[in-house]
Amino acid sequence: MIPSRHMAKHSQTEAIQQAIEVQELAPPASGLPSALRLWRRWRQQAVIPYLFLLPFLLLFSFFILVPLLYALWTSFFVERLIGGTTFVGLQNYQEVLHDGNFWEGVRNVLLLLFTQVPLMLGLALGLALLLDSQIVRLKTIFRLGYFLPYAIPSVIGALLWGYLYSAHIGPFAQLAELLHWPPPPFLTAAGLLPSIANILTWQWTGYNMVILYAALQAIPPELYDAARVDGASGWEIARRIKIPLIAPAIVLTVVFSIIGTLQLFNEPQIMTAIVPNLIQDHYTPNLYAYNLAFTNQQYNYAAAVSFVLGAVVFVFSYVFMLVTYRRGQR
């Protein structure tokens, strides 16, 4: 980028700012009383921002805050088919903590978190660096291509992969049959979690890559020029300049992934129709909460399960941020 253009932009904004200040400081031309002037200023500074926030606040409270509080409220009760609703305090939470089904689900999503997420984010980072480097051509096409799976609704994606994985009608199985091999063990007890991990990687690598790529674009190119003058190679630039500078974006993708993985729902919910023996009603905590509420009609208990899951998500995200923050301090 040319420095002079930079300067021009800068001075332009400065000029606008000065103009605003002059307007505000200038004595009232029409001679308004000072109280009214103060009221106007107060209105401008204190009220108007909130007016702009109002649509968001309204929707936020209606569709997030109120349901959340309602769910919290429900989780303190037990509704029986006979005898109606009674307040039970924290009893539902106590049961969740001792519920083997719930923790089995948590174990499944944690396994995914510790295997699939590093793999996916490593891939995303690698692809982002490649796209940002000088060696790749047709960048737009590649960028769109990697991002495309994210544009496919995850339900459709899961259905598609379910077909691809099928041991009878799937293309891989048919290819294996042609070669007289046993069908690939995608949907077996051992293969299921890696198969789901593969769907997630397919779907979310491009999304994370775009976040990282956007962060890379924001790095001032002068830094690269300086590094090159100092004799740094492309690899060294990536390792010593690019990655440290996009660290906040990497942290962001990790936090998104922690939240998303722990709340995994769509893929197992769709694939349970194909392999119900392997994906039971408590395969992930969210699936468990859903089935408790809508199959077993244990709405109160489902609410408690959701809040405990929320706590687990919070703990993992918080611990991760704490660790990275500490490291940043050193």
Binding site: F62, R80, L81, I169, F256, G260, P276, F294, Q297
Partner: protein, 440 residues
């Protein structure tokens, strides 16, 4: 999966806006239809049902009842519909006026008090037109909570070509069935005699029903639960041994793989119900002419005991503003001779009406089954259904527990017998926690 927090929030907003619009349109709709007593124009009833092509019967009804309009919606079959229905009933609005419910799920809706007692609209007048066990399942005392629509007396569909090729007779007892399962799989390891789907609780329950198991005896809020009685353990062990021998497949049913297996000869039989013959034509069209129907195999040679799997009723919900009209519709749909003829002969529902079972035009040869009079097998089966079988008032929960346990057993982690004991314990605990008095 919800990783795109930022994106999804934007999407959530759009969704929220749409929901708001929907809510507004629904409330205006309710206002429009709410004015009951003074309504001079036609009454509109919403009707949830997953029977395909039902519009034919509805058109006929609307022609003879100009003051009632039926808005038929297919919101999904079985469990998909119940999830929506339960949620709408609990929410207090959004449920249809008339709804299709399978026999097994009726008690839970009756218990929650969300179905209209149709006896006040003369439902008992049509009682004698129905097969007795169906009426027993829709009524309690003198109260009637639904009108039987169709039934599913059980039988065996089998591939005549495969049985002929491997020189096997059609099994008449379960012992013979198990022996032939092993012989068949040995002769051709690609063929399984059938598929044991642990995820099909209603299907497994029909096997319990035939074996004479009596898992529930309900008396008001007192309930006797015996999911691991001798008959149930007999059925569980039987299938446990077959699964262990590897002679039956354990894939899930009702998905594309399963349809393909029925079509390409991987599965040699389907233990199923009277509505299945027409379904099979739909999902295995290339196997035309190869299938035949036979009576359900028996536990003791010479017996004639059958069971029911599936079949539905039509009920009126308490959210209905026009229960009299709705009651008239469900009665008419399932008793009017023209309507019954459409249901049973054009839509291939297996009748719950005595007259339709005896109708000679119902007993026609079917070319998909090599010209066999398939319905005849199931009409006989309908006479042999054990009539005292009862469902629990929380059958959704029972099915989900049973399915969990059977799946664990199929995966080899516990025995099938243990699966039944575990289901029993879970259901007893649940029933107690729901306020029932449980006796054993």
């Amino acid at each position: 999966m919800n990783r795109g927090l930022l994106f999804c929030r934007a999407r959530g907003m759009v969704k929220a806006g749409l929901l708001l619009l929907l809510a507004l349109s629904i409330s205006s709709y309710l206002v429009a239809c709410g004015g009951t007593s003074a309504s001079s124009g036609p009454v509109t009833l919403t009707f949830w049902s997953w029977v395909p092509n039902l519009q034919q019967a509805i058109d006929l009804f609307e022609k003879s009842h100009p003051n009632i309009k039926i808005k038929w919606q297919n919101v999904g079959s079985g469990g998909t519909e119940y999830t929506k229905l339960t949620t709408a009933l609990k929410a207090g609005s959004g449920a249809p006026d008339v709804v299709q419910i399978e026999y097994a799920y009726l008690p839970q809706y009756i218990l929650s008090g969300k179905l209209v007692d149709l006896s006040q609209y003369g439902a008992n007048d049509v009682k004698d037109q129905f097969v007795p066990w169906t009426w027993a399942q829709v009524s309690s005392g003198g109260k009637v909570y639904a009108i039987p629509q169709d039934t599913g007396p059980m039988g065996l569909l089998y591939r005549e070509d495969i049985f002929k090729k491997y020189n096997l007779p059609v099994p008449t007892t379960w012992d013979q069935y198990a022996q032939e399962a092993i012989q068949l799989h040995k002769a051709n390891p690609k063929i399984y005699i059938t598929d044991f789907s642990a995820s099909d609780g209603p299907w497994f329950f029909s096997l319990l029903w035939q074996a004479g198991s009596q898992p529930f005896v309900v008396n008001g809020t007192t309930i006797k639960i015996h999911l691991d009685d001798a008959a149930a353990l007999k059925v569980a062990n039987y299938w446990g041994n077959l699964v262990k021998s590897g002679a039956v497949s354990t894939a899930a049913d009702w998905n594309n793989d399963w349809y393909a297996a029925l079509q390409n000869g991987t599965l040699a039989t389907w233990i199923t119900a009277a509505w299945a013959p027409s379904d099979l034509e739909g999902f295995a069209p290339k196997s035309v002419g190869l299938w035949r129907a036979a009576p359900l195999p028996q536990w003791s040679a010479g017996e004639q005991v059958s069971a029911n799997w599936g079949g539905s009723t039509d009920a009126v919900t308490t959210q209905c503003q026009h229960p009299a009209e709705a009651a008239e519709f469900v009665k008419w749909l399932n008793t009017n001779p023209e309507s019954v003829k459409i249901l049973t002969q054009k839509l291939y529902l297996f009748p719950s009406q005595k007259s339709a079972l005896q109708d000679p035009s119902f007993d026609t040869a079917n070319s998909f089954y090599g010209g066999q009079q398939v319905n005849r097998i199931f009409v006989e089966s309908a006479q042999q259904v054990n009539t005292s079988f009862q469902w629990s008032p929380f059958q959704d929960y029972v099915f989900s527990q049973l399915q969990n346990q059977l799946a664990t057993a199929v995966n080899g982690k516990i025995s099938f017998e243990q699966a039944m004991h575990n289901t029993q314990n879970a259901v007893v605990t649940y029933a107690r926690s729901q306020g029932f008095t449980v006796i054993s």
